[in-house]
């Protein structure tokens, strides 16, 4: 469980985050989404007991991050953005060192379990300096999961992983997230979409939106987009499609496809398909494009900037 109320952090005269209030319940995966410098890392550092906020309070796993910092740190697993590893240690030594610092009673077993979880048991005796970036990331994750923390905080956890590892990683997080609280930051929006139960969009130190990925999407999608591709040039097809009742904003794209919108509930797709065939075109591709989180994100962060001006 994470509960933050009015978190504010100043670095000298620069305000990194302002009045952040949010909650993450047990069994929930919450995504922190925002451009670089939005205040994601700062917030995470406050929640992990690395540094205190300037104003505001936060409870993590039921303990106050300032007055009960050690209790919080006991219950939190944290993977910072720059994976903190000792290159001169083997993977096993490193995890054992962390297990010792955390006073884990059966350290060896816990280390083995964590290695198993990130599928690094074969490299346990290799030196960390010899590991690839993806493997280092996994060792970092093993460190965060080692003591089976109630709350897992991951800062940009999938950077540097190859696509197969990303899939593996997401599975791991999803499994862990079932019974624990996971807060992860990312600027890969599809990741937030796939992994998170709830997304907090943060820009310039403030939360600009908070909802499930699906709700965020539907909240902002005014119309449904469809892309249509035919064999050859589509120039002459454009007026035909544009004339159909309910079709809005039909336009040719630079890549030769034709894109149009229609109001939700007034599906014009069958009519468009028929018209295309009747006009003598060979229909190659016909698919809807949802407004991606990417676009939502840009929309939100830009709106926010505009308001500030």
């Amino acid at each position: 469980m994470i509960r933050a109320a009015g978190l504010t952090k100043d670095y000298g005269s620069r305000r990194a985050i302002e009045n952040l209030t949010f909650e993450a319940k047990q069994g929930e995966v919450v995504g922190f989404l925002g451009p670089n410098g939005a205040g994601k890392t700062t917030t995470m550092r406050i929640l992990t007991g690395y540094m205190p906020p300037t104003y505001g309070t936060a409870q993590v796993a039921g303990f106050d991050v300032i007055s009960e910092s050690l209790e919080v740190r006991r219950r939190v697993g944290y993977l910072p953005e720059t994976v903190p590893l000792y290159p001169d240690m083997t993977v096993y030594e490193y995890l054992k060192f962390m297990a010792d610092l955390r006073h884990l009673p059966n350290g060896d077993d816990m280390v083995d379990a964590a290695l198993d979880l990130v599928q690094m048991e074969k490299r346990a005796d290799g030196y960390i300096s010899n590991l690839s970036k993806g493997m280092r990331q996994r060792v970092g994750l093993a460190q965060a999961l080692l003591h089976r923390p109630e709350v897992l905080i991951l800062d940009e956890p999938t950077i540097g992983l190859d696509p197969a590892q990303v899939v593996e990683f997401r599975n791991t997080v999803r499994n862990v997230g079932k019974e624990r609280t996971v807060l992860l930051s990312t600027h890969i929006l599809s990741e937030a979409q796939q992994l998170c139960d709830r997304v907090l969009i943060i820009n310039k130190g403030r939360i600009v939106a908070e909802d499930t990925p699906e709700n965020l999407q539907s909240r902002l999608v005014g119309a449904e987009h469809v892309v249509l591709r035919v064999k050859g040039e589509a120039d002459d097809l454009l007026p035909v499609i544009a004339k159909i009742d309910g079709v809005q904003n039909a336009k040719l794209q630079p890549d030769g496809t034709l894109e149009f919108q229609f109001a939700p509930g007034a599906d014009v797709r069958p009519a468009v398909a028929r018209a295309t065939i009747q006009a003598g075109y060979d229909l190659l591709e016909f698919h809807p494009v949802g407004l991606s989180l990417e676009e939502i994100f840009l929309q939100l962060t830009q709106d926010n900037t505009r308001k500030e001006r």
Partner: protein, 248 residues
Amino acid sequence: MRNIWTIARREYKLYFTSPIAYIAALLTLLTVGIYFVVIIYYTVNNSYYSNTAPGIDIVIGPLATVFLFAVPALTMRLLADEHRMGTLELLLTTPIKDGELVVGKWLGAFLFMLSIIAVTLVYPIVLNKLTTPGIDQGVMLSGYVAIILLTAVFLAIGTAMSSFFNNQFAAFFATLAVLIVFWWLIRLPTYIIQNDSINNILNYLDLNGRFTSMLAGTMSFSDIIYPISLTALGLFLSAAAVEIRRWR
């Protein structure tokens, strides 16, 4: 206590994989070894000195001088390097106190230095064989107490500097500067200042004077208390610097 030991153990092991530590150990032992051989050779071959047997100071004296340079090299990375690698963030988010981290770091370095000092124990054994009726055990004991206390102080100053600076080289030179002040410079004003009470304070703070008298076999209560207090102060300042880091 357990956390201090965990940190210290890692730190101690790390020295055995670090080239700087090997170079520092080599330099120390080489200097002491050459110095020892030359003095013994000179004493044996010079009839004027043959009645005065060399004491333990010919081992511990040069040891202190080399430590002046070896300690900054060994302590510069203690916390500065953790900062550089990002592992300080890891350590500061594990359930250990800032003080435990700092003391553990210091202890690891202290144990490494003790290992180097332990190697030099071969010299008193040799001296004992070479001289009749053997070396003064009391002087030897006070000499080794002196060098161990001095090492503790030097390392605590180095640990503090490493926690003040993010840059290892800044930590190295700052440590060296502070050590030079306590080792050489602090008593110099006593030659020109006429005020006795100021001079008493400066003489009290002078590490070299205390060290020299301990090498000669005289040891006062404050000779023990002062270096221990200075070590504690250094470690306290390190812990404070780590704590301040959090609030910045």
